[in-house]
């Protein structure tokens, strides 16, 4: 690990350990098919990025200076908040799409049930219409 004394080695170890556990959790969710591989990619990539920054904090310092942040951690918090906000918005969009699909499937189900009952009534083997 190349900290150059920017952050204590203990903090670096804890950070990397937490990220590794998080990544294992995501992979476990994929293996047990509770999370699709496609949806897991964004988590795998973001965890990997965070791990890179934990291993090479000099990168974060350089980047935040280049962007004009006074304290590197502010750049980190800002990026994290933005990333989470984007994530939540994407989730909300997914929710809206799912609701629209569910609505259409429900309607289709009601239509099919009515068609089936009409057919049954015509054949005379169903309950009275």
């Amino acid at each position: 690990m190349i900290g150059h004394g920017l952050i204590p080695i203990e903090l670096q170890v804890v950070s990397v350990a937490v990220l590794a556990l998080f990544l294992l959790w995501v992979l476990q969710l994929v293996r047990t098919q509770r999370l699709s591989l496609r949806d897991s990619l964004v988590w795998v990539v973001s965890t990997a990025l965070a791990a890179v920054l934990a291993l090479f904090p000099g990168l974060l310092v350089w980047l935040s200076r280049a962007l004009g942040f006074q304290v590197p951690s502010n750049a980190l918090f800002g990026a994290a908040v933005l990333y989470l906000a984007v994530n939540v918005l994407v989730n909300t969009v997914t929710g809206s799409q799912s609701a629209a699909r569910l609505r259409r499937v429900t309607q289709e189900c009601a239509l099919l049930r009515a068609e089936m009952e009409a057919l049954k009534a015509k054949r005379g083997d169903g309950p009275p219409p």
Binding site: A99, A100, L102, R103, T106, Q107, E108, C109, A110, L111, R113, A114, E117, A118, P128, P129
Partner: protein, 265 residues
């Protein structure tokens, strides 16, 4: 046009019903009195009471949503049925008895005559009278505002845009089958129709206070209603999205379409 030969117009009444077991028989009887040749379609939107059994007993087409979709999703199920069964006109009538079925012929007439593609029953159109249920003063102010916004956004002149008592011609049926707002749909659906090139008209109707139960829109929600509908009208779908929705609708035969271009832009 195939739909405009007077007697040959096939009309479907769409009756959205959520826990309306008590009002439904009177609503259906009223519609049968007003128009004996009418096809009737009750949409049971996941009721927890005996709405479905009551509807079966009345001998109407019953669309039963396995889960509650809300008024927009329920009404759209009815428009899908009208699309699939070739109805020329679909009339929306609330299952709670607020709408007087004797106005049904007046609602259908402009469509049968080819003068309009969507006709909204308005409590405020025509000669002002003290008769009928016209809502509270505050709500009337909201309605005037929505009416203004609707005219501004899509050129449709409707004095009672929140009215759920309306008739849709074939073109509007196809539009609504493809795209209908899920909640508080009344003003927004007028915009959907107008943007889709349907001519919107209105006729005066009278409404009564509901027979049983409470309105699904209490005073507390009126503000949310106004905000939601305002946003919807300001953010009307882009032409591309509207075309896609129209494309989905046009998979069904479009015979007897009453829409004409130039309804608004």
């Amino acid at each position: 046009m195939a739909c405009c030969n007077g007697n040959s117009v096939r009309i479907l009444a769409i009756i959205p019903a959520f826990n309306e077991e008590r009002s439904l028989p009177a609503v259906v009887a009223g519609l049968r009195r007003a128009a004996p040749a009418l096809d009737l379609c009750v949409v049971d939107d996941g009721s927890t009471d005996r709405t479905a059994e009551v509807a079966r007993g009345l001998g109407v087409t019953l669309l039963r949503n396995p889960v509650n979709l809300g008024i927009g999703g329920a009404v759209q199920a009815g428009y899908l049925w009208a699309r699939d069964h070739g109805h020329d006109v679909a009339v929306q009538v609330d299952g709670d008895g607020q709408h007087d079925a004797s106005f049904l012929p007046a609602l259908v007439e402009p469509i049968a005559a080819g003068r309009a593609g969507l006709v909204v029953g308005s409590r405020f159109a025509g000669v002002p009278t003290a008769e009928g249920f016209r809502s509270t003063r505050l709500r009337r102010a909201g309605i005037r505002y929505l009416s203004w916004l609707l005219r501004l956004r899509c050129g449709a002149r409707v004095t009672d845009p929140t009215s759920g008592f309306r008739a849709a011609g074939r073109a509007a049926i196809l539009l609504f089958a493809g795209s209908y707002p899920p909640d508080y749909p009344e003003p927004e659906s007028i915009a959907v129709a107008a943007r889709g090139g349907v001519v919107v008209a209105e006729v005066p109707v009278m409404m009564t206070e509901r027979l049983h139960g409470a309105s699904s829109i209490n005073a507390w929600r009126t503000f949310y209603y106004l905000v939601k509908v305002s946003l919807a009208l300001l953010l009307l779908p882009t032409r591309r999205a509207a075309r896609q929705a129209g494309g989905a609708a046009s998979t069904a035969p479009a015979a007897g379409a009453t829409a004409r271009p130039g309804g608004g832009a």
